[in-house]
Amino acid sequence: MKRIGIDVGGTNTDAVLIDGDSIIASIKVPTTQDVMSGVKAALAHVAAHINDTPRPLDAVMIGTTHFTNAVVERSRLERVAAIRVALPTGASLPPMCDWPEDLYRAVDPMIFMVHGGHEYDGSPLVPMREDEVRDAALKIRDAGVTSVAISATFSPLTTECEDRAAEIVRSVIPEARITLSNSLGRIGLLERENVALLNAALQSLGKTTVQAFKTALDDIGLQAPFFLTQNDGTVALADVAAANPVFSFASGPTNSMRGAAFLTGLSDAMVVDVGGTTSDIGCLVGGFPREANNIVHIGGVRTLFRMPDLLPVALGGGTIVDPETGAIGPKSVGYRILQDARVFGGATLTTSDIAVAAGLIEMGDPALVADLDPDFVQTALARIRAMVAENFDQMKTSAEDVPLIAVGGGAFLIPDEVPGASAVIRVENAGVANALGAAMAQVSGEVDQVFSDMTREQALAEAEAAARRAAIDAGADEASLQVLEVEDIPIAYLPGGARRVRVRVIGDISFG
């Protein structure tokens, strides 16, 4: 098995070439403003080593934190329209009623609530008012908005209203990119709608990002199939992934945690992955990120889908420090760190400048931060340490000290001693843990359908068998398959004891 794994963060782009368990080549370059010249530089570096071993290249796996960063920073988000098919229910709690105000403003939504939706037994709540959907679509078109999220009551059981509303919207706005809530989330209207809306806000970014990766691979002449890594440690073909950016939300931290486990040999530990824009703190259990049980907040928004349990912190190597007040973040210079940070001759004070001034790391020209008041530097450093300590403590699950693995390009920001950590572990190649985790990513197979006229056991078994076939079709090695997720919802009052079953299995890519 020979693969290239690449992780494109807001600040650094890391790439590795692995052959089996061996790291053949690795590199870390700054993410460039156009993103892709950095990607190309990193790819070109590791691609030059492809012939160091005889096997051909099997695949390129790309992990990107672009989508999460956009939500956390409230930038690069597209204006969205929400159409909820649920009236007369839910009027007091309109779409996005529980979103943080700044994110709400960044997405600047058009909100429509129309009559319709279904009951839990699949019967209509009230007839869907198609004229209301059409009116909404006309207003959305006139406003020039093309990204639309559609939700409806009980759409995970019957997609009829969302499908029909999408048809109407498409007839009015042919170029609309429509996210249906049932394709992403579970029972729980607000949370499912939230996921759909976040996804809608990221449509443009998803499309341009994947297209840019495609061009970069072509330019280097890499012909291997190309995947984006997903939240659960699996990969999806890039074009499929582009339409569902939310499935890539936590792929960066998932990759780095898997990479951290691989590099340290530890399967149970806390991991902090410090990028240029954000840090993510998570918990490794048995070599995989611990999964969140239920509700996961993304950028302050409640969501309900399978995600690793992570605490994102707006702290990275490119995080901007206010030169007047010493306040840290949440904005970051991101990919512009080599131009904007003071040590590289820029005019913006960043956490990296503070680290250089304090002697924590050597980079750029230390003379350029020599003018910083030592008291100011120590105060900023203390703030950074307090942020790390507070967030680490929040993620810990017991009062006992546990090891903390520090990975990522900004790992130097993590102090050697963190209250509550038995040790802070730094390893070689920790800077490219992300890329390593991406290269190791697995494939999955999923089935989500209604089964009738059989027992629950039979339905689960049928669904699992179908999910296994889907995974094998997607390229999984049959012997490595394991069930990741089983969910079943009985549908009352339908003949034959109908039940919706969702099963997801995961396995290594087969290169047989």
Partner: protein
């Protein structure tokens, strides 16, 4: 004496009520959101102690009815809860002095607050379950032999129902449940009106205070990184029944109820053992390796072992690390009449009630 219910108590009340919901009563999140929005719009809710009611005061007993899962899709609207109270006033031709919760468990703990915020009436610091239960006859008022009618029910489509008389609590349950199922398994209801005297004699008192204090204990423990499950046990004099990992959940929806069982594989001291937690909307009976070890009316609470937050019967899923905790039931529920109404036999289990606290 009226006391304003401060906005900062909303989260504590919701957290505590969710635990007292014993798996049912609905997740209070949406009600919390609704109540916060009402507070943001300037509404304020006052609380009245049951002992401060006059004997002839009229008290509205409200609850959302239906399957919690349905409530997550058909989002509740405070106007319907208020409308159920108004409909009952119209029918009676008399105004209510105050509004109280049917159950302090889950979202329904906040139901009277939603109506009260819109109607400008105080909420009584009491309920008639001290927890959550699925059926109308499972209340302290029913155990006390009080009248079970009339009942008002409001749905979102402009359907309004009055059940004028019912032959028994069972019939009231049967009729109102059928109406509720007919409108989609969720509706706002105002139960049989109570006099101040009846609330004083048969209500379960000060449960808003109890739920708020329990919730605060959990929130404080989380903030201090103490074990919130231990904090619950300590504060409420509860007992840990089991600790483990959820390995299977089986659910069916019949007659408007969510029934099924959760299977938990033991860890720590319970390693090697398996606990089956059966439910009908709420957790009903805990069976360890085939032997019943805890049961209703003791409160069986399934808590997330890490956060101490309650896990509802509709949200429990494979892989969760959980603690099964028993809390003492209100006294009236453990009397012979109470056990007949809400003991294991009321849920179809042919076993004698044995409290873990005996």
């Amino acid at each position: 004496m009226l006391q304003e219910f401060p906005e900062e108590n909303i989260e504590s009340l919701a957290t505590g009520a969710w635990i007292l919901g014993t798996g049912g009563g609905g997740n209070p999140y949406l009600s919390t959101l609704n109540l916060r929005r009402l507070y943001a719009d300037g509404a304020r809710v006052q609380v009245i102690q049951p002992e401060d009611l006059a004997d002839d005061d009229m008290v509205a007993v409200v609850s959302g009815m239906g399957a919690p899962l349905v409530g997550q899709e058909r989002l509740k609207d405070p106007r319907h809860m208020a409308r159920a109270v108004e409909l009952m006033e119209d029918y009676l031709g008399r105004p209510f002095r105050a509004i109280m919760a049917l159950e302090i468990g889950g979202a329904n703990a906040l139901s009277p607050f939603l109506a009260a915020a819109l109607l400008g009436r105080p909420v009584v610091n009491a309920d008639c379950m001290g927890r959550a239960y699925p059926e109308a006859q499972m209340t302290s008022f029913a155990i006390g032999g009080l009248s079970m009618f009339p009942l008002s029910m409001v749905d979102v489509r402009d359907n309004e129902v009055i059940v004028a008389r019912a032959e028994s609590w069972k019939w009231m349950e049967k009729i109102s449940r059928a109406a509720c199922t007919a409108v989609g398994s969720t509706a706002a209801t105002c139960k049989a009106p109570r006099t101040g005297r009846e609330v004083k004699d048969w209500g379960i008192h000060h449960t808003i205070t109890q739920a708020t204090a329990l919730g605060r204990v959990v929130l404080d423990a989380r903030a201090r990184h103490d074990d919130p499950v231990a904090a619950v046990l300590d504060h409420a004099q509860g007992k840990q029944v089991f600790r483990g990992k959820v390995v299977d959940v089986d659910r069916t929806t019949t007659g408007g109820f969510l029934r099924g069982k959760t299977v938990i594989e033991g860890i720590d001291a319970d390693r090697g053992a398996t606990l089956e937690l059966a439910f009908q909307n709420e957790w009903a009976v805990a069976i360890r390796d085939g032997v019943p070890v805890a049961m209703t009316p003791d409160l069986l609470c399934l808590l997330d072992s890490l956060s101490g937050g309650a896990i509802g019967t509709e949200a429990v899923r494979y892989g969760q690390r959980v603690s099964v905790v028993a809390l003492p039931a209100p006294k009236i529920l453990t009397t012979p009449a109470g056990v007949a109404a809400v003991g294991p036999r009321a849920f179809g289990y042919d076993i004698d009630f044995e409290s873990v606290f005996q």
